[in-house]
């Protein structure tokens, strides 16, 4: 067996774990900076070891399983929530050479596999045998299902333009123009829906610490809780990568600056998306539950459908079709 094929995913896992550690620190630092406070600054220089200390604390905590819980499901739920989060990374092309599979239906694979996480969340909430956990799980699942539809619809414009579901071909089609310009409506819908899929502010209702205690993972402690948190941040990694690949041209360099390697461009665009997520979290209040559902079905979905229609019409317009038929 090819050793690169075996070692690649393991290396990627370590890269992702490193990203998660730094992202949590970065998030707290950025939010602290926006709110004019120092943020974590006690563990290590500039608080750099704060997350390491937090994770260590979670790992050595006592593992508590409520006596009335459904034990097998309670233990299984964090794994079911985490595995799809890592599995979706298999189809994301980081650069021309750094990619794991040339899956023909890559984008659909991402959307399909990521929906399995919802089962893990529902399982965890139900198995906890706690009304807050159940409520949180149902809210979470309802939100993720509702926002998955605009998310899928918003990328149809890109698929129409490229004529392929393969993520590598989608990146290669963006050599001239990134899809954020011709598909701006699609990008807006995709970005808002992805915020909601990631359960981040302003759509962090599943957690809503002030009303629901903590949502579906109230009863979880120690490393099981850490797994839920980890899967959430791995999805941040995956979703930011997917946004980069779909709308920001992946590894393609802007303004013909090709002497800088593709991976640097990818990381820069990726970090821009991650920073925007934290920025939005620090600025926006949380939306209400009824507004949340109305927004998905009455605003995002029609806009996404309009974007599909618009793309199909503009493909036939002379002088503009070079943007929509690649």
């Amino acid at each position: 067996m090819n050793p690169v094929l075996v070692m690649g995913p393991i290396l990627l896992l370590f890269v992702v774990l490193g990203f998660v550690t730094m992202a949590i620190l970065f998030e707290r630092k950025v939010i602290g900076w926006i709110q004019m406070r120092p943020g974590p600054n006690r563990v290590g220089p500039w608080g750099i070891l704060q997350t390491v200390a937090d994770v260590l604390k979670l790992l050595i905590k006592e593992d508590i399983i409520p006596s009335k819980a459904d034990k097998p499901l309670f233990k299984l739920a964090p794994a079911i929530a985490f595995i799809p989060a890592f599995a979706v990374l298999a189809v994301i092309p980081f650069t021309e050479s750094l990619q794991f599979s040339q899956f023909a239906v890559g984008i659909l694979y991402y959307l399909a596999v990521s929906s399995i996480t919802i089962i893990g969340i529902l399982m965890g909430g139900w198995a906890s045998n706690n009304k807050y956990a159940l409520l949180g799980a149902m809210r979470s699942a309802a939100q993720m299902i509702s926002y998955e539809i605009p998310l899928v619809m918003s990328v149809v414009g890109i698929i129409l333009s490229v004529g392929s579901l393969n993520l590598v071909e989608i990146v290669e089609a963006q050599k001239q123009v990134w899809f954020i310009f011709p598909q701006f409506l699609g990008f807006a819908v995709f970005f808002i829906a992805s915020l909601s899929e990631l359960n981040r502010t302003p759509f962090d209702l599943p957690e809503a610490e002030s009303e629901l205690v903590a949502g579906y993972h109230v009863e979880y402690t120690g490393f099981r809780f850490a797994f839920f948190m980890l899967s959430e941040y791995v999805y941040v990694f995956a979703m930011a990568s997917l946004t980069t690949v779909l709308f920001l041209g992946g590894w393609n360099a802007p303004f013909g600056l090709t002497m800088i390697p593709g991976i640097v461009w990818f990381v820069l665009k990726f970090l821009l998306i991650v920073f925007s997520l934290f920025w939005i979290r620090a600025t926006m209040p949380r939306v209400r539950v009824d507004q949340l559902m109305e927004f998905a079905w009455k605003v995002l979905l029609p806009v996404a459908l309009f974007n599909i229609l618009l793309t199909a019409v503009l493909q036939e317009v002379p002088y503009l079709d070079f943007l929509y038929r690649l």
Binding site: A112, I119, L122, W126, L165
Partner: protein
């Protein structure tokens, strides 16, 4: 029978699919049943993948494992989900069920043996070919199915409205 990777993968996936189905029948809690069913759906997606039908496999996960299972879980959670009693099944009932299942199995096997299956070496169907055949050759059945779904959707909305009043 050659013991290659494909065969081993098929064996594992089949055991997973059948195991999920058996668990579904034997579980006492409705929640466990729904999860076993989701597991079976997922394993079947693996078998599609093995048959080089990537699009069908991914759609199977998206629709069955992702959407339909979660719909069932929602239904269970919103209703009485602590139910564990099982009504006793009469022997006559059991006999009829087995008879129907055997008839169904016979019918399916008959159809499978009648259909000329393609031999090895056929290229996997691309998404493009699939789309062309759905929207050109099978456009009328496709549109009929869409109308049916639309009718079901309108019906669901009317029923929900009635309950509100």
């Amino acid at each position: 029978m050659i013991l290659n990777g494909e065969f081993i993968a098929f064996f594992i996936l089949s055991v997973m699919a059948i195991g999920g189905a058996v668990f579904m029948i034997n579980a006492t809690r409705v929640m466990h049943m729904a999860l076993s069913l989701a597991f079976t759906f997922f394993s079947i997606a693996g078998i599609y993948l093995l048959l080089n039908a990537m699009f069908i496999a991914v759609i199977q996960i998206l629709i069955y494992t992702g959407a339909i299972s979660i719909l069932m879980l929602f239904g269970i959670m919103l209703t009485k989900h602590r139910d564990e009693d099982r009504p006793a099944i009469s022997t006559r009932h059991l006999g009829i069920s087995f008879g129907v299942v055997f008839l169904f199995l016979g019918g399916i096997l008959f159809v499978i043996y009648q259909t000329p299956l393609m031999g090895e070496g056929t290229a996997p169907l691309t998404v493009q070919e699939l789309g062309t055949s759905v929207f050109k050759q099978y456009v009328i059945p496709f549109e009929l199915a869409s109308v049916l779904l639309l009718v079901a959707l309108v019906g669901a909305i009317i029923l929900a409205k009635k309950e509100e009043e």
